[in-house]
């Protein structure tokens, strides 16, 4: 009885081992086949692009360029788009990669090819299907390929309260698609935490620079998230802005906006407004923000700011941490431009200020 039980167990174990080995074997074969299939589809896509997009020597773009090649496109569509989802995804990925990497005519032709292969309609249908898990990816795809037909569907995605990722991707896509009111998507957000804001900004950074809107349009928005994001993106994409509107933002009670304004001013060396920012630095509630701004001033190396720093030090409302940073910045600027900056410049010289000055001068802190 005991022996037969042992035999039974060992036979069962051996059977399980064989089944598992076979399973592993088939999985490996399946994966290898998929890789081969993937390589074939990639090669075919590259061949199609070479044939249709790169071999054309005409440097002028004409929307009808694709018509003589319709048969080739329909053939490719029949073999690789309509038959399997796996192959369609590979083709879509390859076209999107190339479209994002190239500019001018080549990029426009790839977009035409994407549309002629019917990939835009497939993406629209997938977006209509509420059970699909690929919505953020599809929204990005439609935005990148500037499929205007998708605007209404993407706007509807802004209502997905439970899925912030979809909402953010939808508002990023609308920046490109909704040319008359590109900020309609961000305006939709009444509340955004820091993580969501960062996600939004990082998504925008991936946008094609050819299609980005003028972010300074958002400076006068009543939504503080829009103002902050637009300030950051205006700075990132090195766009021009109206100094008068930014001047008004200097009075904003929101420290995040102050930081974004300061970064924009520092990057663009707008020292007229930097002087104004220094004059009102005591109004910023967050001392940490004030200290950081002072630290950044030190890196700017603008000679004219020395007097403004002295004013900050002399102001009785300035807190000690900020005074120390202002003293350090003033010492650095005076060193850099061979100017004399001594304790005589400061009106109220008590022991504390003297100590701070010495520390700042000798860089003891």
């Amino acid at each position: 009885m005991y022996i037969s039980l042992l035999q039974y167990i060992s036979v069962s174990l051996a059977a399980i081992l064989v089944i598992l080995s076979l399973l592993l074997f088939f999985i490996r074969i399946y994966k290898k086949l998929q890789r081969t299939k993937k390589d074939i589809v990639k090669t075919k896509t590259i061949q199609l692009i070479e044939e249709l997009v790169l071999k054309i020597n005409n440097p002028e773009y004409h929307p009808d360029w694709i018509n003589p090649n319709l048969e080739l496109i329909l053939d490719f569509k029949k073999n690789y788009i309509d038959t399997s989802e796996f192959e369609r995804k590979i083709v879509t990925h390859e076209l999107l990669t190339l479209h994002r990497s190239l500019k001018d005519i080549a990029s426009e032709r790839i977009r035409d090819l994407y549309i002629r292969l019917g990939l835009d309609q497939i993406a629209l249908n997938l977006l209509k299907n509420k059970k699909s898990y690929d919505h953020p990816k599809i929204i990005w795809e439609l935005g990148q390929m500037r499929i205007i037909e998708s605007i209404d569907l993407i706007k509807a995605c802004l209502k997905y309260q439970d899925d912030k990722e979809i909402q953010i991707e939808a508002s990023v896509a609308l920046l490109v698609l909704q040319i008359d009111n590109p900020l309609v998507g961000i305006e939709h957000f009444t509340h955004m935490n820091k993580g969501q804001k960062q996600y939004f900004i990082e998504s925008c950074k991936k946008l094609d620079q050819r299609n980005i809107p003028d972010f300074s349009l958002g400076f006068s928005s009543t939504n503080i998230h829009v103002v902050e994001i637009c300030l950051i993106l205006c700075d990132y994409f090195k766009q021009n802005y109206d100094s008068e509107i930014v001047r008004k933002l200097l009075k904003s009670p929101n420290p995040d906006i102050t930081v974004a304004v300061a970064n924009l001013l520092f990057k663009t060396n707008n020292y007229v407004l930097i002087k104004e920012l220094l004059a009102t630095i005591q109004n910023i509630e967050d001392v940490y923000v004030q200290v950081n701004l002072m630290k950044q001033i030190k890196l700017l190396e603008i000679k004219d700011l020395l007097d403004d720093l002295v004013d900050v030090i002399n102001n009785p409302d300035t807190v000690d941490e900020v005074k120390l940073e202002a003293l350090r910045s003033a010492c650095r600027l005076s060193e850099k431009f061979d100017q004399t900056f001594t304790l005589e410049h400061i009106h109220v010289v008590d022991e504390k200020i003297k100590k701070m000055f010495l520390h700042a001068q000798e860089r003891l802190i």
Binding site: I46, I49, L54, R100, S101, L102, A106
Partner: protein, 131 residues
């Protein structure tokens, strides 16, 4: 430099590498294509390369590692960087007489072709003349 200039093109995305390769091939250059830093380094060690075209972010080794090796081991130091962002520090490297050109994404294929041709075709012509 050999009569047929050799270009090493290192680009992670296969489709982009093939596209740039297709455009450059019209000039009858010998083009070696690879998609990661490790393979590129192996090629640099074994083959004489006249022009290095590389992205910065690559698997295993970065584009800067490749440039470092290329500069140390090759006489002709023609480099084209395919960048996503501007690299202001490159000017400092260029001052050390290493001409590093850069093109920003999205790339203009004709521009890449033009930059490579400008560096390689005149020297090729001179080489043939001297023979």
């Amino acid at each position: 430099m050999s009569p047929t200039p050799t270009i090493l093109l290192v680009c992670e995305e296969t489709i982009l590498a093939q596209t740039i390769n297709f455009v450059l091939q019209k000039n009858e250059f010998k083009i070696l294509v690879c998609h990661d830093g490790h393979t590129a380094l192996e090629i640099l060690k074994s083959e004489p390369v006249d022009y290095l075209i590389t992205e910065i972010l690559l698997p295993f080794y970065s584009g800067f590692d490749l440039i470092h090796h290329f500069v140390q081991s090759h006489t002709f130091k023609n480099i084209l960087l395919l960048c996503v962002f501007e690299n202001p520090g490159l000017m400092e490297r260029s001052l050390n007489f290493i001409p590093i050109k850069q093109v920003l994404k999205p790339y203009n294929l004709q521009e890449i072709n033009q930059i490579v041709k400008e560096r390689l075709i005149p020297t090729q012509y001179i080489h043939q003349e001297s023979n």
